[in-house]
Every structure is written in C-alpha cells, then in structure tokens.
Symmetry: C2
Subunit: 352 residues, 2 copies
Amino acid sequence: MAEQDRASSTAKRAAKPTINDVARLAGVSKKTVSRVINRSTLLNSETRERVERVIAELGYVPNPQARALALRRNFLIGLIHDNPNAQTVLNVQQGILEALQGTEFELVVRPVDRRSPLMIEDVRAFLSRQRLFGVLLLPPISENDVLAELCEELGCRYVRMGSAQLDDPEHLVASNDREAVREATTYLIDQGHSLIALIEGPRGFRSAAERRAGFEQAIEAAGIELPRNFIAEGNYTFESGIAAANRLLDLGPPPTAIFASNDEMAAGVVHAANQRGLSVPENLSVIGFDDTAIAAHIWPPLTTVRWPIIPMARSAALKLVGNASDRAKAAAEPSFFLSSLVRRASVAPPRP
Amino acid sequence: MAEQDRASSTAKRAAKPTINDVARLAGVSKKTVSRVINRSTLLNSETRERVERVIAELGYVPNPQARALALRRNFLIGLIHDNPNAQTVLNVQQGILEALQGTEFELVVRPVDRRSPLMIEDVRAFLSRQRLFGVLLLPPISENDVLAELCEELGCRYVRMGSAQLDDPEHLVASNDREAVREATTYLIDQGHSLIALIEGPRGFRSAAERRAGFEQAIEAAGIELPRNFIAEGNYTFESGIAAANRLLDLGPPPTAIFASNDEMAAGVVHAANQRGLSVPENLSVIGFDDTAIAAHIWPPLTTVRWPIIPMARSAALKLVGNASDRAKAAAEPSFFLSSLVRRASVAPPRP
DNA sequence: GCATACTTGGAAACCGGTGTCAGTGTATGC
DNA sequence: GCATACACTGACACCGGTTTCCAAGTATGC
C-alpha cells in the first residue's frame, strides 16, 4: 500500500537520461562514459568527443545519488551552528558557498540548540543518517569538544571556527580576538577613558574568555584599577546587552565607556543609553565586536572590531573539501585571521 | 591515478553496518529488514522484534544515498533565495527546519544573484544536478515566473512565498501585504499626518507593487492629495533607505511621516533623520515592514508591519513535503497569512 | 480432509553510477 | 618478424537499498 503510493507519486517526474542511454547511443560501454565524465586521461580523444557530443545532445547529467553510492561518499557539507546572530550565520553561509562555487558540493544547514540535553544525540543522529562529506562548526558550538570527538568517532571530517588556540590547524580556523580586544580597549584608554566596563559573553565560552583576557591585559598594562563589578555578563543577544548596560550604568560611578563582546550587545548598550537620555558618544563611548551589518546601521555608527568571518568561513570550507582532493592545498589554507579595529562614531573622549 | 587517490582517501572512514549485515545476523532476507524499516504491515510481529533488536545492537542506519537511488528520489529540500535581509533568510530557514523536524528531509541552501544574466542557467544546473525533492522560493526571486516554469519543466516540486495573488494555492504561500500597508498608512493619517511619503521597493517586484497599492488606497480614501515626488524608490537595503529619506527630507515641504516598504529601509530613514538632527518620532514618524529584529533593536523601536514569515515558511515546507505522502494534508496547509501592525515608538502626531 | 485464500519470507533484478581486471590493437625493442 | 609494453576499451561485479515475483506456510471454507 505505502509502497505503491510512493511509486505512483514519483511516476510523474520526467525520466532523465542515464549513463546507459549515453553509452548505447555513443556505441561505447558505461565505463567509457564514466571515464569521460571523470576526465580520465586514459582516453582516445576521438572517443571522448563522440561521447561528449551524445552527452550534450541528451542533456545528460550524472545522478549524484548513484555517484555517492558507488563512491561511498557524498557531496554534502553540513553547517552546524547555534549562533544567535543572523548576520553572522548568513555571512558564514556566504563564505562557505563562495568556496563551494564551481564544485559539486552543496551546503546543508543544521541549527541546533546548545542548551538542549539532546543536542549531542541530535547531532549524532544527523551525522550517522546523512553521512555528510564533512561539517563546519560555528562558534559558539564549535567550542564544544564533545562535538568534535563525535565527528572523529563517526569518521566525519570537520573544521571548527572560532577564537580558540591554534592547536590543530587541520581542524581549526581561528582569529586573534584577544589582541584585537586589547587594541580596542587601548584605544578607549588613549581617548582618556579610565572608567571602562566590559560586557563579556557567557561563561564557559572560549571566545568570551579570549575577549575578556584581551580586555584585562589592556587595563592592566595601563595600570588602571577597575571596580570588580565593571565586568558584566551577557549572552550575546541584544536584550542581554540592554540588561547589562542598565546594571553598569546604575553603578556609582558609572563607566564612561563600555566594551561589549559583540555588536548585538553593543547595540543593546546604545539602546539602553538612549532610553536613559544618555547620548552616545557624548555621555558614553561604546565599542562592539564582529562588525556585522547592525554596527554600521544603528545611530551613531558603532566603532567595533571587524571579525573577518566571511574569509574565515571560505577558508574553513576550502580546508574541508580540499582535504578530499589535495591535502597539501588544504593544509596550506590559512588557519588564522586577524581582527582589527574599525573606528566609527560611537567613541569620544569622556566629558571632563 | 585519480581513481586510486579517491579510493584511498575514503578507506579510513569507519565501515558502517549495512542492511546485509542486519539480515545475516537476524537470519532473514534483506527484504524483510527493509519491511521493518519501512513499517510495512505485512510482517510477523516476532520477526519484526528480532530484526529491530539486531538493528539496535548494530546501530544500523540506512544509507540515504542508496535509498535515494532505489526510490528514485532524494530527501533534500532546496531553499533558493536572493533576499538581502539576513534576519528574513534566517527566519525562513528556521521555519522550514521546524517543519522538517522529525522527517528525513534536509535543507540545502542556494543563494542566487537576481541581477546575474546567468541566474536561470545557474539554477537549472543546480536543479538538474541535484535532483532535489523540491524547492522553496523566497521573495523577491519567488516572483520570477521563469523560475517557476523551470521547476515545472524539470519536474521539481516547488512552493513560492510572497505577497502575490492567491492564484495557485498548491504552489504559493502568500500574505495580505496590501491590506496591512493600508492599515499602517491609515494609522499615520489617524495620528494627524497628511504629509506622508512612501519609500517603495524596486519596480517590477510584486511585493513593492502590493505595498504601494495599499499605501495609495489609504491616501485616496482619506482624500489626501500628495505631491508626486512623495513616492521614492529604494531597493530594500539600509543604504537605499538613507538615500531615499534624504531626497524626501530635502523637499519643501518635507513629509512629517514616512512609510518604508521594509524595516531595513526604515532603519535607514531613522539613521538619516538622526544625521540631520531630526528626532524620531518628534520631528518625523516612521513605519517599516517585516518586523525583523532590527525593528525592535534600533532607537526608537520601530512601529512596523509584522510579516509572519516563520509560519509562512513552515507552512510552505509542509506543503512541499506533505505533497509526497499526504496530498490532502498538503492542500489543507494554509496558503494565506495575515500581516498586522505592531505599534512601537517611531510614530507620533505631527508637530503643529 | 482437501481446496482455497491469505500471510510471510526469500531470490533475483534493478536503481545509476564506479572499480577491477582481462582483452584487443598498436608502438617499440631486439 | 616476434616478443613485449603500453594505451585504450569493455564485461562484470559491486555500492546498499527497494521492488517484483514466486514459493512455502497457515488459516479458513466447505
């Protein structure tokens, strides 16, 4: 019953020419056609031409499912992420697709819920079901070592993106968040600020720890002594930025500058300042991190750290698929990217 | 050479149990295992149990490529889009994935460039190569009839999303943009505005035309006579919103309220107003469209039209995959969604 | 008790490609 | 002129599932 149903529902689809049709019309064997498709060098140019003519005539396109079965691997790259920022995720997708352009690989997206206890099992089911060629892991979930081990266990290639230490260039594409944040904080200090607060990312995230470390290094280097509660925690969302800003601005004395660990939270800080009748940058300087679209689009335009996520994603994807054909090239793909400060209008010297 | 290389590169991957292993260990034939997997009713419950035990023991998962080959269809849904708004695209992905949750379908994303002359050929290559189960088309590219015909021609199921007329409920999920914009414009009129400008979307887009029609209906119903140049064109980006706002605010007299055809452009209007020292909503009222994250995140929070894109995407996906198993259910899936006004803080009566 | 219908399970073909290996035809070496 | 090497091609098995077809077992009707 169910079987019949399924059969009839596919019956209407147009029958496509197969490799057998091509072989028959060209008067050669399947294998020869396969050789033409795969650019084998062991081929008489006359035969190749004849087969190619038939292929063009028929509009033959190899069936990727059959290929995947015979080759015991498919051409799907997975993107596993739980990043809350839409622009970041889309930028990553863009970078990956740039790298995949012209190849036979396609991108399958898989958002997951970091907080779900079933997350790991969910990913396990996904990976064993689909047997992807490989996966890319986006921060913050890329920091989860269990996930990386799961990939190893299931024999699935993977590349992690993030601000982690450069301990494994084959599986990691990273950026120098720590130095970039130090630079940004030093910029605030150079502008004359000494009451500088930090809104950090969630505890347990390497990116959060790296950014905090950069902040603290700069503060320490300047010999500044900060009140303990000048470090607030957020969870990378706009709302958490508002909440953290309100906590900080209620302090006595309040900070004259706030570094938020991503743009989303920085936008929340600007929002909270506006709500309180404080103007940015006159009453409060703000710096964000990421340089996503929102940074340029709010008022005032946000001074922020540009995180080169698109090149990072492209590089990660090349590393992943390059691994298949050209290991050397894949290994040569850069694993480390530099973030840098973008100066816009949300920073000014503190009012005397 | 190349063949050898490929073979060796896959050799390291863990060998997974196949249906043959299960059959052998359970002491039954492949077909019986297949029947268990596919929940066929023609099975002794004792046999089923035995097979299921072996499946669990081995951790057997059917190979989707082999299934796809045998069934002559795969389990991939494509999302073809050229939407400039990250939040919209991600919301759509979220809606689709909610619908696909628990099914064997996966989502493949495919951004395209609407302006490229190769776009159609690009999509054709994509569709004939991958032989997807079906595709979802996002606006604005969903309005391209050539694309829909291409899907028909290639025998690829499709569902279009957009603000188009409800002419084909099997292939379309739409919203009532026109009425929603009329409502929003009427709200501005009720607040006392009569110098109301429109920033419309690009010519040739049905969504742009629908929204403009709603605007004009409201203006006409109120008996307002607008200067011709109170309708400016944008292209749905933040920057085009700034440019259009500057053109409008340079007019004499300038508008006291601006309706922008999406939030991105509305944010640009707010940005431009701030740059000119105008405050929103005191000196200028602004309404957007979409209710994406940016609407709530800029200051002041944007009054906007909520476009129920997530439920629309979910419904579109259900329509697409439901089509396979349960035509009736798919047809029953709603094809029409209501947009409604969300009142925030960017609208106030005009200053006397 | 036997014919019949209905379950249940297996053998073999098939989906559309790729890998292995043997066979043919031509160039080269002696 | 014959043996050998090499380039090219095809027959066939195989990837891991589903489907067709048939046979055997079992329940039911008479």
